[in-house]
Amino acid sequence: MESENIDSQRRKNIWSGILFGIGLMALVDEIIFHQLLQWHHFYDLSTTFIGILSDGLLNAFALFALVIGLFMFADLQRKQSVQKRKWTGGIFTGLGGFQLFDGIINHKLLRIHQVRYDVNVLPYDLAWNISGALLLIIGIVLLFKSKQERAGS
């Protein structure tokens, strides 16, 4: 019973981090690339209907993830069961996962919009996806390490 509880707390820490990470990256994408730099277009004419569909649902989910991730963290804090390493690992996993999904599925497969227009897009795509992969790897390593620590102690 007790170990079950610890297990569920561990999962909650990871999920709170992942959800917050997904929402945070979506927010960064929106604020930096859409609004400030204006590299991304709200809509470019090559977008398929499936692209619009998936982008709409994904962004709606990311908005929700941002809020529920933070509320889950507040709940863990209140119950004094925050595990910072797991939470941080979760955040990186969420950040990288969203970035990579956005870069490969949304930009390339569904062609919702490109990273930047009127330039050779290849270096931008590489930078985008490699940084996403790096974040994801950091997240997975952090989660793996925190697991090992628990097993070692």
Binding site: F42, T47, G56, L57, L58, N59, F64, V67
Partner: protein, 259 residues
């Protein structure tokens, strides 16, 4: 856009204004009755209710209503106020709870019977409510209803009544502020909210790509972007309120465990 009869639209403005004024007067009257029964009612609720009524009414009467006939962006602002922000504030005034308190027992029982009939149960399911709400919007902007409603005052009035009622129904099916007769789980309401918000975004992009007939491209684009980002603001409010409800419920279990 041309209108066959501008006076008919003026009549509609007057009716909408009168309904709003009636609501603004009836609410404190109900508060007074409730107080007479020794059940006082917080004034703050009236301010929320009044704010909602004024926000919703401003879309249908006055300068914004007149501009909305010719300016698509103003039209879209009106729809955000009528279908999202107005209902959100009115719901926080808890009008249904106040009505229940004001009515005597036999009438309150009748009202609660009405709230429990199958039809009401059916439409207040979050999924059905959001189909009525977002589906209605798809009919307006993608099935020609937008062009059609500007040719007849009656249709114009019906469509706007639907936008308000469906918006209110949707809001109260997602967040439990006022009386709730049929409860649904947090996860179900959260999923429906995400899907509804998603389809709201999808519709605004489709409007951006091809605005309704008679709307110039730049007008359609600004209107669509207002719909997209304005909808975000309303929806983040709904998300925060829904998650706050989850947070409170999660704390209740914890506190019970401690004692």
């Amino acid at each position: 856009m041309h209108h066959t009869n501008i006076t008919h639209f003026l009549i509609l403005e007057v009716i909408a204004g009168l309904i709003a004024i009636a609501a603004l007067i009836l609410y404190p009257a109900a508060m007074y009755y409730s107080k007479k029964k020794n059940r006082s009612w917080h004034w703050g609720r009236y301010f929320l209710f009044a704010a909602g009524v004024i926000i919703a009414a401003s879309a249908l009467t006055g300068p914004m209503a007149r501009l909305s006939h010719t300016d698509f962006t103003v039209h879209m602002l009106g729809h955000l106020l009528l279908g999202m922000f107005g209902p959100l504030f009115i719901l926080h005034g808890k009008p249904m709870t106040l009505i229940m308190r004001t009515l005597n027992v036999s009438y309150a029982r009748k009202l609660s019977k009405i709230l429990n009939i199958k039809y009401v149960k059916f439409i207040s399911n979050p999924l059905i409510a959001s189909i009525l709400n977002i589906g209605g919007l798809f009919l307006i902007y993608k099935a020609g209803l937008f062009e059609f409603m500007h040719t007849s005052v009656l249709w114009f009035a019906l469509v706007h009544l639907h936008v308000f009622l469906a918006g209110y129904l949707f809001t109260m099916s997602i967040i439990y502020i006022d009386i709730v007769t049929h409860r649904y789980s947090f996860l179900y309401r959260a999923s429906v909210l995400v899907a509804a918000l998603g389809f709201h975004k999808i519709l605004s992009k489709l409007i951006y790509a091809s605005p309704p007939e008679g709307i110039a491209r730049p007008d359609g684009e600004t209107g669509a972007m207002l719909m997209y980002y304005g909808g975000d603001i309303a929806d983040i409010a709904l998300i925060i309120i829904l998650c706050l409800e989850w947070y409170k419920a999660a704390g209740r279990g914890y506190i019970q465990k401690l004692t």
